[in-house]
């Protein structure tokens, strides 16, 4: 399939404001392709963002958009979806936005299986505000607020969302745009429940510099070397996963979703 993206992308606002080497453009392109692949109408799409570098993705869209407050995209998206169940809602969140300040909304949306898609750019730090640590910053890494090393452990965010009850959870990395597109596309087709795609991203400007990566290419290489596919683990048995990035579908189960329960049962029986 040939993609143009014209239907969705506000071309006159390009180039992106993101730093050169930033992975956000790759996630953005994969998202647009998944929309195009599924032939979504732009009137049926709402991109909901909070605040952060990835949270500026809606600036380049011609779809409906809600650019709200830091950490609250999933809660805003919940209200939009419940008010108009026909819409495709994409909450585009960073690891700070979605897993740290907004972590409570994330786990509860997963538990409720609110029928939205959340795409998290996990670049292991707060890019927008200068590279401070987030809830997904790995132990011992350097960030602008862990200058002498990081004392905390990171969330394994995909496993967290899975155990909270989400119907679909997948992790992929920035060096495999086709996989990102495939997971988003699958999430669109599933239609129901809380669908969560975590993209392991790079922030060469902050996380990269603080942790002695010379450039984006080195960071991507590092991701590549550490990536293992969940299917290989299943086939070949558990290996030592310390420091590894496990990509693939963490869960893909049939769920009713909040709307089916609320509209189909509670409202019909009221």
């Amino acid at each position: 399939m040939k993609y143009s993206g014209k239907k969705y992308v506000k071309e006159e606002l390009l180039p992106f404001f993101w730093c050169s080497g930033c992975g956000n453009g790759i996630i953005f392109a994969a998202l647009i392709r998944a929309m195009e692949e599924n032939n979504l109408e732009k009137k049926d799409i709402v991109a909901v963002t909070g605040i952060g570098c990835w949270g500026k993705a809606d600036d380049y869209l011609k779809t409906h958009a809600f650019h709200g407050t830091h950490g609250r995209a999933i809660a805003v998206a919940t209200g939009i979806k419940l008010a108009n169940p026909l819409l495709h809602i994409f909450a585009l969140v960073g690891d700070g936005d979605g897993a740290t300040i907004g972590g409570n909304h994330l786990i509860h949306a997963a538990r409720r299986n609110i029928d939205i898609i959340t795409i998290m750019s996990n670049n292991l730090n707060y890019g927008m505000t200068g590279g401070q640590y987030s809830g997904t910053t790995p132990f011992d890494s350097i960030t602008s607020t862990s200058r002498r090393g990081h004392a905390e452990d990171a969330f394994d965010i995909s496993n967290l969302v899975k155990s909270a009850g989400a119907g679909y959870v997948a992790r992929c990395t920035i060096d495999n745009p086709r996989m990102i597109q495939r997971f988003i596309s699958k999430a669109i087709k599933k239609e129901r429940g809380f669908r969560f795609i975590e993209v392991i991203n790079i922030c060469p400007t902050y996380f990269g510099r603080y942790n002695k990566f010379n450039n984006a290419v080195e960071m991507i290489k590092d991701i590549k070397e550490r990536t293992v596919n969940i299917k290989d683990i299943e086939r070949e048995g558990q290996e030592d996963l310390d420091g590894k990035i496990v990509v693939g579908e963490y869960i893909d189960k049939k769920v009713e979703g909040f709307l089916e329960r609320y509209w189909g049962k509670i409202r019909n029986n009221a």
């Binding site: 407050t69 805003v76 919940t78 008010a83 409202r267």
Partner: protein, 381 residues
Amino acid sequence: MICNKKGRHFMQGNIAVGEAAIISGARFFAGYPITPSSEIAEHASLNLPIAGGTFIQMEDEIGSLAAVIGASMAGVKAYTATSGPGLSLMNENIGLACMVEAPCVIVSVQRAGPSTGLATKPAQGDFYQFRYGTHGDHMIIALSPASVQECFDLTIKAFNFSERFRCPVFLALDAIIAKMYETVDIPGSDEIEILNRKIASTSDKDYLPYKPDENGVPLFVPFGSSLITRANSSGHGIDGYPCADDKNHDRLVRRLIDKIDRYKEEIALFKEFNISDVEILIISYGCSTRPALAAMKKARKKGIKAGVLQLQTLWPFPEAIVKSAVSQAKLILVPELSLGQLKSEITKYCPKKTVIGINKLGGTTIQPDDILAFLSKEIEL
């Protein structure tokens, strides 16, 4: 369950709010339980599904207001209910509602603070929080009922104002009025004026989400429309895309204030009692109104020319009403379950008058005699 039944009913203030919300056309509630407001959530959970609406109990008040704003921008009238601690959590998103111009009603039942305070006891200490809780220059509307009937009537007005001005409107209750049971007359639906936000025509090919109409309010387009719309918490141009230009920000923020401010006389709702010859004026709102009226009656019997101005609109502050009511008064008394928040606002508009606050904390009530005691002290002087 009473839901939408014309006639005379005996009900709680909180329930009257819930009934009026559904009659106003509200079909979405998101909230987090807190005393003394929880009956509003419970009522919504019971009644919204029948009305074809949706209730959700969110994980906190921050998410509650976020969801309400989201639902509103998708074209559904939405409300939430809370009390001081929850209102404090909502503050950031109150600014969001102002900025994206999301019509919504925030019911907040005042209880004794600060912090957890006296959770079940009444207070009037959030007067300034309603107005200034969120950061940045902005304007909101706040209405405050003094009876269960007014809970019903002002909820209808609150939704109407929020739709007309596309702004958050507070219904500022207190634990006395919210928890009180009284009779309420619910008019037939044909007798109640319900306003809806102005929607852009889908044939308007030049539609811009933040282009103001002649009243300073942009035409609304819900998410899902063939016209595309954007809501933006960041500084934005009339197209809804980000804009950090200084002049644009100045214009935007001034418009958000002016669209409400220029109609403040219409928004100013109040009741006057014995004002024409008033010498001693008692200014009240919410739960301080009844003791004010009782004190006025007793004083009148003694030949004292006492009168009451009851403010139903707290914000934008009804300065013209206050200025005119105080003009011939020799003494102004302001009974309040706070240390003088309303009083300090009144003083701004009549710096030359004697304004005395009758202030109580402790989560108790103001008694008519508390007011009379001040009155006779002043009269003897």
